[in-house]
Structures are given as C-alpha cells and as structure tokens.
C-alpha cells in the first residue's frame, strides 16, 4: 500500500516522491512548451490547494470536478513558479468525480520556501505570499 500524503504536507524537492489524491478545481489556458501542450490547474484536497501542471494529453483528459490520484509526482520549481506535476516518472489517473471535499487555502504554490538553515537540502516555509491562488481566485 502506497503512503498517501496530504497536500498541506508537501515540500519542494527534486524527487518524484509524492503520492496524493485531490480534486481538480480549475484549469488555465492551454500553452505550448516546444511541441508539448501544458496547462496550469488548481487542485486541492481537504487540507490545502496547490498549482498542478498538466502535460501533453493530460491537458484534455482532466476536467474540473475530476478526482485525480497522483503516483510518484514531483513538487518543484518550473520557471520560477512552484508546481506539482506527474513528471516523467510519475502518473496521474482519474479515479472519480465530484465527491471530495476541498479547501482553497493554504495554497502550497503561494508560499515562499527557503532552504532549511540546518539542512541545506531541505526547504522550509518562510512566508505566505497569498492565502489562496492568485491565478485561480476562489469562486464565491
């Protein structure tokens, strides 16, 4: 049985080590990185939200309301922004729809992280940049 992590506990790292389940709340515009489609999305579980980068055919496969299981995902900086993604070694799969509670704050991508003074390989939270996503504002 794989250990699932709550989104509030994810920490930036250069490793594909994140197994989590969350619901997709919103999708941004389709972009191209070279020949590959990408699309930024907002995902959340009942502890936190985070920006998730969809890649290739993931962009069309997932819709708001889909519950996604991420295996071996990575939470790291991509062009200066902090995103969660499946990456080459990870896998994102739709396992359901609708029936998952979520919160939109904190947003783990809207937190400033700094290297841990005691362990330079680790990151720790320094400050909250915004309580919720500045790209996908909450729907009220």
């Amino acid at each position: 049985m794989v250990e699932m992590i709550s989104l509030k506990d994810i920490v930036p790292a250069a490793q594909n080590n994140i197994n989590a389940q969350f619901i997709l709340l919103d999708k941004g515009r389709l972009m191209f990185e070279g020949q590959h489609k990408t699309c930024l999305a907002l995902v959340a579980d009942n502890t936190a939200a985070v920006h998730f980068q969809l890649w290739g055919d993931e962009c069309d496969a997932f819709e708001p309301g889909d519950i996604i299981r991420l295996a071996n995902g990575i939470f790291s900086f991509q062009r200066n922004s902090l995103v969660l993604r499946a990456g080459k070694r990870g896998k994102a799969e739709k396992v359901g729809e609708f029936t998952m509670a979520f919160v939109e704050t904190p947003n783990m991508s809207e937190i400033r992280w700094v290297p841990d003074p005691n362990n330079s390989k680790k990151y720790v939270q320094e400050a909250v940049i915004s309580p919720h996503s500045r790209i996908f504002p909450p729907v009220l």
């Binding site: 055919d57 708001p64 799969e93 739709k94 609708f98 509670a101």
Partner: protein, 509 residues
C-alpha cells in the same frame, strides 16, 4: 477474441468491477467451452464462474447462448449472485459500457426475467433509473425503447412474479412520456411514444389496484399528460367515474392525494450517479463553498436546454428522499432549501419552473401530520423565509404559486387542499421549523395581496387548531356524492387553468 466491456478514457484508472469480471473470465476461459467440466465448484469457484460467464455474455455475443446454457446448468442460488452482479454493473458502469455490451445486457436481463431470477426486480429498477428525463440522445431513447418493449413482452410473467416492478415501470414511462411529448416528432420517436403510451394505458386500465400503490405522485405526473388524447379519458374517469377502474377500494381521486408516495418511485428518476453527487453536496459541502460543485453538477447533468426537465425530479428527490439527520441540519453544511433555490433559479423554461414549484409544494397540498413527514415540506418554507432579505422575488413567486394551487389545483376538492396547506403551516410552527410567520406577514416588500391572503389563512389556522379536523377519517368513509357534469367541467377547466397559470408565471430573474 473477447471485445471490451467498457470504454476507458486516457488517464482513467481501471474500474474494480470490470477488473474482477475480466480476470475471472481470463482465468476460467478454457472451461467456458463445451464439453463443460462436470466437477461441482466450491463456493468461491462458483462465484468466479458466475463472473466469468457474465463477462463472456457481454464480450462474446456470438457465444452468448452457449454461456447462458452453461449458466443454467451450473446455477444453485436462484441466479441471485449473477443478477446482483448485473445490477452492480448497471449502477456503476452503464454509461461506460460499449454499445455491444448494452445490447447484451438487455438480452441477458430478459433471460433472467424468464427464469424468475432472485433479484430481478432490483435489476429492472436499476435499468429504469438509467433512462434520463430530458435526455433525447439516441442512446437514451434506445434504452427507453428496449425497456418498454421488455416490460410489454414479459407482462404476464412480471405480473405474476414481481407485480410491484410494473408500477415502477409505469412511473418511469409516464414521466418520460411527458418529456417525449415536448420533443418535435420524428418517426422513430413516434414508435417509442406509442409503445410507452400502450404500456401505461394497459397498466392504468387493467391493473389500477397496483397503480394505486404509487400514491399522490401518480396524479402529479399524470396531470402533465392530460393533453395527450390517450390519457384524456383516463383523466376524466379519475375525476368523474372512479368505478371505471374496477377497483373496489377506489372511490375518489383524493384517496391518491392522501397517500404518500414511497421513495422507491422518486428515486427512479434520478440516476445513481446524480444521487451520489446530490447526497454528497447535501452532506459534505459547506454553505458558501457550493459554487464549484453546483457548476460541475450543472455541466454534467443540466448542460443542454432540454435537460432542464430534470430539475423537477431533483426537487422532488430532495424534498422527499433526502432527509438529513439533525447533526447535518445544525451544521454549516448547505441546507436543502438553498440547493432548491439554486435549481429553481436555473430554470429558463416556464413549464419546468412551474412543475418544479409544484414538486416543491406537492406534499403541502395534502399534508396529514399522521402520514406525512415534516421533512417533505420544510424546504419550501425555509426557502421562502430565507429569501426575504436578498431574494424577495423568490418568496413572492413561491407564495403566489402556493395560493394559485390552493385556488385552482382541484376546485372541487378545494377544502381538502386548504386543510392540507393549513396543517402544513401548523406543523411547521409547532415543530419549530419557523418560530412564526411574522417575518412573512410583516415583510414590507411583500405585496399587499399576498399579505392579505396570508392573514386570512392564519386566521383559519388558529380556528382549525382548536377544531382539530380529521381528514383521514373523511377518506375512509369516502362515498362522495356523484358530481354533476357541470361541476366536473369546472374541475377539468380548473386543472387546465393551473397549467396555463404555470406557463404565465414569470420566471425568476
């Protein structure tokens, strides 16, 4: 080579039911061809054999007859496991099944009816629930057509073994017919409509004692078909000549009014997927955080203009079939009235809005505190009261509609309806759902006419509390005097008037 059972989209996880069936099939494939092994399987082997044969029937249509013969030879549990597994497939996978598998599903269901399988009623109900109101896609119309043909063809057998399932079919097809009558015609639809009409008329004319079991919602959905020639005569007999139904215990339509409709019927018009999402919304989502969920629900189930008809069934489902416990009522979870308010505001067609409001108030009209649940009438009062500060138009249109119903729904049984509405109001105050109706009567934004009507009603209310009317007794001794044709004409025009009035009501902003 076996074909696929379901369509799996890219990046979609495997489905556990499909996996268990496929694995059983792959494991036992060699034993699924004659000569079949004579060895008696152990209990786990027996279940696996059932799964394997089921998968074979779905995915090897050309060998279906071989598979079913095999099944008949091996069965020891009255087909209970096999039928229950089929029911699970329908509830969880129907929309994903490939077309060939859907055809096989109807075929094997018919076979299960023929052998009177244990659990066949559950399977048929599961299939009926997959027909969707307001869905005119080819796939949905195909399912309606296959099912109505199945119920017609297996009439005698079902009447003997599972008569109640025929009433479920009646409720479903009556409701579907009112949709199918609003669609511009084509020859395919004409054939389907005729099959649905023939089945419903046969039920109402030949098995009325069974139809009675549906209760008051039978009248609600029949009323929507009063303009259809085949139902005009039935409607007239319901109001005028109850004896025509040759059912000893039936003397007057008010007997139907006063009998509460069981959940089993109201659930029929909601697919399991909708039910899961609605119950989740009303159990887990906090008031204030519902917007995204509502948008997802609407995108999935109410996206096309015709789909709006579904709102009527959802309102009825929320009022009658989803009764949250006190912990939820007292929590921050979105209340039922707020969801109904959202649904009513999303209606664009006047007839849908009118019918949805009727669905909301229907139990008010015949409320009897000894038989009816306060939970059925609670959403309407809370929606009216809570809409006062910001959505007075909602309060207005609902109250106006309630008085319209009291005046016109059934002019000949106006007193009974007035009594029902009064009982509903009394009960709501007595049980503390609202402390009083002061907020309504003293609301400045409410029209003087509505205030006056409310005032009049509450005077009667105080009087009736002291008098303690007893409507149920009146039903037992129902031997109403024969109505004159003039009065009846008034009654029928009264009903027509209400349907016109519903159309005239301006939609919510």
């Amino acid at each position: 080579m076996a074909s696929k059972l379901i369509q799996i989209a890219s990046h979609e996880a495997e489905n556990p039911i499909e996996v268990s069936l496929r694995e059983a099939f792959e494991f036992l494939q060699a034993q699924l061809r004659p000569p079949f092994p004579l060895k008696i399987p152990t209990p786990p082997e027996y279940l696996n054999l059932n799964r394997a044969i089921l998968y074979g029937i779905f995915c090897e249509p050309h060998l279906a007859k071989v598979h079913i013969k095999h099944l008949h030879g091996k069965i020891t549990d009255g087909y209970s496991f096999f039928t229950n597994t089929l029911t699970k497939v329908v509830n969880d996978l129907y929309s994903k099944l490939v077309d060939l598998a859907k055809i096989q599903l109807i075929w094997v269901t018919t076979e299960m009816v023929c052998v009177s399988a244990i659990g066949i009623d559950g399977l048929l109900v599961a299939l009926l629930r997959q027909t969707v109101s307001g869905d005119f896609s080819e796939g949905n119309l195909w399912l309606c057509s296959e099912l109505v043909s199945l119920f017609w063809a297996k009439w005698d057998c079902l009447l003997e073994e599972e008569p109640l399932v025929l009433t479920s079919a009646l409720y479903t097809f009556l409701r579907l017919l009112s949709d199918h009558y609003r669609l511009s015609s084509n020859s395919k639809l004409e054939v389907l409509k005729q099959k649905e009409i023939d089945f419903c008329v046969r039920m109402l004319r030949q098995q009325f004692h069974l139809c009675l079991k549906i209760g008051r919602d039978l009248v609600r959905i029949l009323q929507d078909l009063a303009h259809v020639p085949e139902f005009q005569a039935i409607w007239k007999d319901l109001l005028l000549n109850p004896g025509e139904f040759k059912t000893k215990e039936f003397h007057d339509i008010s007997q139907l009014y006063l009998s509460r409709t069981s959940n089993r019927y109201l659930l029929l018009r909601i697919t399991p997927e909708m039910e899961i999402q609605l119950r989740f919304l009303l159990t887990h989502v906090k008031f204030g955080s519902q917007k995204r969920y509502q948008a997802w629900f609407a995108r999935k189930f109410l996206c096309l203009p015709e789909r709006e008809a579904l709102v009527i069934d959802i309102v009825r489902f929320i009022c009658c079939s989803h009764h949250p416990p006190n912990e939820i009522i007292q929590s921050a979870i979105i209340p039922r009235w707020a969801v109904i308010g959202w649904l009513l505001k999303s209606c664009r067609k006047n007839y849908v809005e009118g019918n949805a409001k009727l669905a909301l108030f229907y139990d008010w009209l015949f409320f009897d505190e000894r038989l009816d649940s306060i939970m059925n009438i609670e959403p309407a009062i809370l929606l009216m009261v809570h809409s006062i500060p910001k959505y007075i138009d909602m309060t207005h249109t609902l109250l106006e509609f309630l008085f319209l119903l009291m005046d016109n729904y059934d002019v000949e049984r106006k007193d009974k309806i007035k009594h029902g509405v009064l009982s509903a109001f009394c009960m709501l105050v007595r049980k503390g759902v609202v402390h009083s109706f002061d907020s309504l009567i003293n609301c400045d934004a409410l029209s003087p006419y509505l205030k006056q009507r409310l005032g009049g009603l509450f005077i009667c209310m105080n009087a009736s509390v002291s008098k303690e009317l007893q409507p149920a007794q009146a039903v037992h001794s129902l031997n109403l005097p024969k109505t004159s044709s003039v009065e009846t004409q008034n009654n029928i025009t009264g009903k027509l008037r209400i349907s016109r009035a519903m159309k005239d009501l301006s939609p919510c902003p």
